[in-house]
Amino acid sequence: MPIISSAELQIQSNNEFFPSNTNVKSNPFFKVLFLFLCFLLIDSPLSFAAEDLSESWFNPNRLNMLIFLILFFAVIIYFIQRAKKGKSLFIRRIAGLDAIEEAVGRATEMGRPVLFVPGIEDVNQIQTVAAMIILGNVAKMVADYDTPLFVPICRPFVVPVAEERVKEGYAAAGRPDAYNRDNVRYISDEQFAYAAGVQGIMLRDRPMANLMFGSFFAESLMLAETGFLTGAIQVAGTANIHQLPFFVVACDYTIIGEELFATSAYLSKEPKLLGSLKGSDLAKAIIIGILALGAILETLGITQFTRWFFIE
């Protein structure tokens, strides 16, 4: 049942960019980081003068954004390539994954349906894409058992993607026959009409596992409270900060912010894509370094460093 074996995770205890475990001097990333920080200590060239840019081909005030963007892309791609080459990357197990497996496992044990709610935003929202990646893997978990997987949908554009993901999940588990197209249901674009429809499924189909991943708004608490009422195990994940309190209060397990994307990376077909988690971790480490340095320099009255992070 576990979708990712520990072999795939390539667990290894040493870490690449934490000084406690590696030799700082020999680590290429510390060199890059050091050079980068030195570079930023040069006075920022961004003048933010109010000039007319409607005829020019580059916005000089966004030079800093260009540098940060290229740097971040490079880090992500570098780690993905590294993972592809088979270098071991340690990634801790994400608790949210266990929660999903446990919920689905319990539902299939009891022969009750699984409900997957992919948020209420369109497929051009990254959170919805992440939800779709998770959906395919949930379908794979459910496929072996004859329990239905209901996917109510709020935006028509998500319907084809969800259908494909579920179908593919069932096929990957060797049960293409078990796929029922009628279980991927478009309900309504209107937020509360959608919530009413999903509540209806919860009350009458009595799913045992409610998985809610994606971009949620006010309907989050309606779904989570109704789900609680029906006694389902609920796992929710969103990067919409305003709805996290309600999921935390009413669900059994909540996947917070970046963990949603991490979970989807874990579950995506290629475990190698986990390299991106490593890249994003390095970015966070750099951000912490920058914040500390920035605060110290700001305290000393040196503002040129901070100015690099100013965006008009």
């Binding site: 892309f73 319907v159 084809p160 509360f192 009413a196 409270e225 209060v249 912010g257 990376a265 991106s276």
Partner: protein, 214 residues
């Protein structure tokens, strides 16, 4: 080819939108503006798929006389009723057709859809109370932090706070501006990095599961 072309399109469109961020030239901006308008059109076409899905699934239930089938008839009829009075009447120039005030569509909106939506929304007043009652138990330290902060902020949102302690509103401001803000900021930074790397994987075709199987 069935996968490469879509991925190529995804990549090209995505990269050009990233580049557009750095190009202030007005000609470029107006081209991109047009492309953004295209996205709206494409999404409008997809709506037909949504309606078809809704009608297909519900008519299956009605045909089989499945559970709650009479209610499914209400659903399908109300859907087609809205489309008929909104578009068909308008095309044939029948009075009270179209949308806006003074049309059948408008009446249904103001006397059925709006009250239904607003009432669904207001159910949250009850749900938030029952969720608070059930979940805010001082079981663990984390749960206590959650519960105590919620109660303090709730007191601070109503004038009771000031009568208990004159500086209460300032204290709530402090909670909002220090721990609340710091937590949000960290989630925001992390989630944005996660979203950007997911977006990058999608653009470069490393993550292509959304396209479905062969």
């Amino acid at each position: 080819m069935r996968r490469e072309i879509p991925i190529a399109i995804c990549f090209l469109v995505g990269i050009s939108f990233i580049l557009e961020y750095f190009i202030p030239h007005e000609d470029v901006l107006s081209i991109f503006e047009t492309i953004r308008q295209w996205a709206i059109i494409v999404i409008a076409f997809a709506y037909v798929l949504g309606i078809a899905n809704l009608v297909r699934i519900n008519s299956h239930v009605i045909q089989r006389k499945g559970r709650d089938w009479p209610y499914k008839i209400i659903l399908v009829v109300s859907l087609f009723f809205m489309i008929t009075v909104g578009i068909i009447f308008d095309i044939f120039g029948i009075r009270l057709g179209g949308i806006g005030e003074g049309t059948i569509f408008g009446w249904v909106y103001f006397h059925a859809q709006y009250p239904l939506q607003a009432t669904m929304f207001s159910l949250l007043a009850f749900f938030i109370a029952s969720a608070a009652f059930r979940a805010f138990r001082i079981r663990t330290f984390q749960a206590s932090l959650l519960a105590v902060t919620a109660i303090l902020v709730m007191i601070g949102r109503v004038p009771v706070g000031e009568s208990l302690w004159a500086d209460f509103p300032d204290f709530i401001e402090w909670i909002m501006n220090v721990p609340q803000l710091a937590g949000k900021r960290a989630i925001m930074i992390g989630a944005a990095l996660g979203a950007i790397s997911t977006a990058l994987k999608v653009l470069t075709g490393l993550e292509r599961t959304y396209l479905g199987g062969e």
